[in-house]
Symmetry: C2
Subunit: 415 residues, 2 copies
């Protein structure tokens, strides 16, 4: 008998048929002898509907009141799921975030969870009930309703699982799990049965939008294994867990990528202490988010500085750079607004040199010009021309044999 | 400077334009120097939408979960109103029933308010804010969300006003106030500027559906004056208050009526102690609500017993009576399923005999046959053929001079 926290997203509870389907899945897990806590998002489209209502009402949203408004969405889905469970003779009770005691800070619309009370959940589980909890919402120390920002229900699920010391936190989505790369682009992509927290963080921050990043951080911090799996099909999904629990480690776990990038290269910048900070703070002041950064000291008194931004930020970024040019004197600006980022992620590369060399060789053989490189311990990212992205991902995926099947590493569902 | 609780119903906040309109009304009262607490219902149609969702999901509604579901409706309207107020530079905060501490019993979907906490409301008022509170909902001693049943927002408003010792509880609706009779039937009907709690109770229980009865009872118990007025037009409405505060008392305040009644007369019932109770309990067991009851002992050993039910209950009631006939032996049953009830209500008739006589005389002059009479201290009700209802109401309305204007009894808005 295990204690399992299951989280179902908005599309999983998107209509009444799906809510019945989720109820059946919950009952199946319960009948296998487990204690189940279910975290639900608002029905698909509901949060957007409420935000549109607020937008149509006024342009000046009081953030506290916006949280009151949008938190009503989960209240509807949790009540409906609980009613469906009860109707199927499976005793269940639903609770809002404030009712459970999911305490957050007071940053409305993107609050952070500070503490999760477990007494109500434990009381209900002890009575043999399913506990259904609203995701995405909590309460601050004034008793005000807060919300956690988009994807916050994942964070709710992990925080509850951690507080309860659950055996596993299962995140049900509309994908089967985490793939070696996007199967829409590369049909040979394989489901990854197990992946480390660190790799998952790099994968999600790089655009494999399966799990909210903050929930992976939280799971890692609390050593809470997360399983990503599909609401709509069977299968064990992907278990995100500790590195030392992973069998059959591979050098490279997956390839993440993102399109819609723009690259800006500044060269001939006078070498002054703090000059990079001055450049970045100008860009930040314009509310532009910077993704990759690379710097080279090219000569004694000059340096190069390259960074990438999302393509929609490119015109704004260029305006800032033009202002900087006049300030910094003669610098060369080279830009390309039609680039993409390709990233190799793998905990195995930490102890194996040569992964980068192999990657660059493979890209070179395809005639792909690399415009920028950044690396971390378990990731190598390159910027290439957008038209080269697909060819590059396919070649690297094949080159590192990611299309080969995993070997019997698909462990049992709950141990 | 007064403390005013204002309640706006579902049609008053039925769309975004109306929410802006309500915000303007609230701001106007605030600018007159008053402290304002606003109680809101769900947007018109929203509660029904949620109930339909539950019905489409399952026939087995868990009442606790139904309350979780439908209480989300007020959360939306209260947040939107508060956002509209803030956008107009009028600081406001919204709170759910559980947040405020509106404690109820645990009878889900028709809970009763047991206690109202005032600390949060007073804290916010002291900061100069408008406090917007969800009507219709509360919390039981387990921390579960409860709802008060249809029209429960009126009760919320009165309970909050009583707890705060407010100066007045204003119920904004889509009518101007309480009329001497239904103006749709009798265009000469006049707005009643002041009416006593007792009269209002008789008026609302008799079908003048302006205020929820329970809220009037509560207001009377806590000596809290209620003002009924229109969201959509200006005017002082009707003040429901203590008898001794009412100037220009009239013998008769108004005429209530209800159609869709059915009358069942039993005669020749053997006179036994408790026989009326036996008859009624049979009817009650069939879940039929009885409205009027009259009994006469016609002879030494026989009595007559007459009662009315809603017309839709008539076939069910007749089935019960048939069963009773075989039990009680030879009794005569006379029925009429097409009758209506006409009631004169007036605190003045308590000290003036002859009101009944005048009423019967007026009806007689119109050739209207009275099929049943019941009386209380401040009310006389008669059952007449449905086809005679309109003629009867018009004649009695005119006979008691209810179409004449009230004399300068329309007191100032807040004293």
């Amino acid at each position: 008998m295990a204690l399992i926290v299951q989280k179902y997203g908005g599309s999983s509870v998107g209509n009444l048929d799906r809510i019945h389907h989720v109820a059946e899945k919950v009952i199946k897990a319960k009948n296998e002898g487990h204690n189940i806590v279910v975290v639900v998002s608002a029905m698909y489209g509901e949060t957007d509907r409420l935000i549109q209502l607020a937008n149509a009402l006024t342009q000046h949203h009081d953030p506290r009141e916006l949280d009151v408004l949008i938190s009503s969405g989960e209240q509807v889905s949790m009540a409906l799921l609980s009613m469906a469970l009860n109707a199927k003779n499976c005793p269940a009770r639903s609770f809002t975030g404030p009712q459970i005691g999911i305490f957050t800070d007071s940053i409305h619309t993107k609050a952070r969870i500070l503490d999760v009370k477990t007494d109500i959940i434990e009381r209900e589980l002890n009575q043999g009930r399913i506990v259904v909890v609203a995701g995405f919402q909590g309460v601050n120390d004034r008793g005000d309703i807060t919300t956690l920002g988009r994807g916050g229900s994942d964070t709710t699920a992990v925080a509850i699982a951690a507080a309860l010391k659950a055996d596993e936190c299962q995140i049900y989505t509309d994908v089967d799990g985490v793939y070696t790369t996007d199967p829409h682009l590369i049909p040979e992509a394989r489901l990854i049965p197990q992946i480390s927290f660190e790799e998952m963080l790099e994968m999600s921050s790089l655009g494999a939008k399966v799990l909210q990043m903050r929930s992976v951080e939280l799971a890692s911090k609390h050593s809470m294994p997360i399983r990503v799996l599909s609401t709509f099909s069977d299968g064990a999904g992907t278990l995100v867990t500790f590195e030392d629990k992973i069998m059959h480690k591979r050098l490279v776990s997956g390839i993440a990528f993102s399109r819609e990038e723009a690259i800006i290269s500044l060269s001939g910048i006078p070498r002054q202490i703090g000059i990079e900070g001055r450049i970045l703070s100008k860009v930040n002041q314009a509310n532009i988010e910077i993704d990759m950064i690379a710097q080279n000291a090219t000569t004694e008194d000059k340096s190069d500085f390259t960074f990438t931004v999302h393509r929609r930020e490119y015109p704004k970024a260029m305006k800032v750079i033009e202002e900087l040019s006049t300030e910094l004197g003669k610098i060369n600006v080279k830009t390309n607004s039609k680039v993409a980022k390709l990233s190799l992620v793998g905990i195995g590369m930490r102890s194996h040199t040569g992964v980068a060399t192999t990657m660059f060789r493979i890209l070179g053989e395809q005639g792909i010009n690399i415009q920028m490189i950044t690396t971390s311990e378990i990731k190598i990212s390159v910027v290439v021309d957008e038209t080269h992205l697909e060819k590059g991902v396919r070649a690297v995926h094949q080159g590192f044999e990611l299309d080969k099947p995993f070997q019997s590493s698909d462990r049992s569902f709950i141990e």
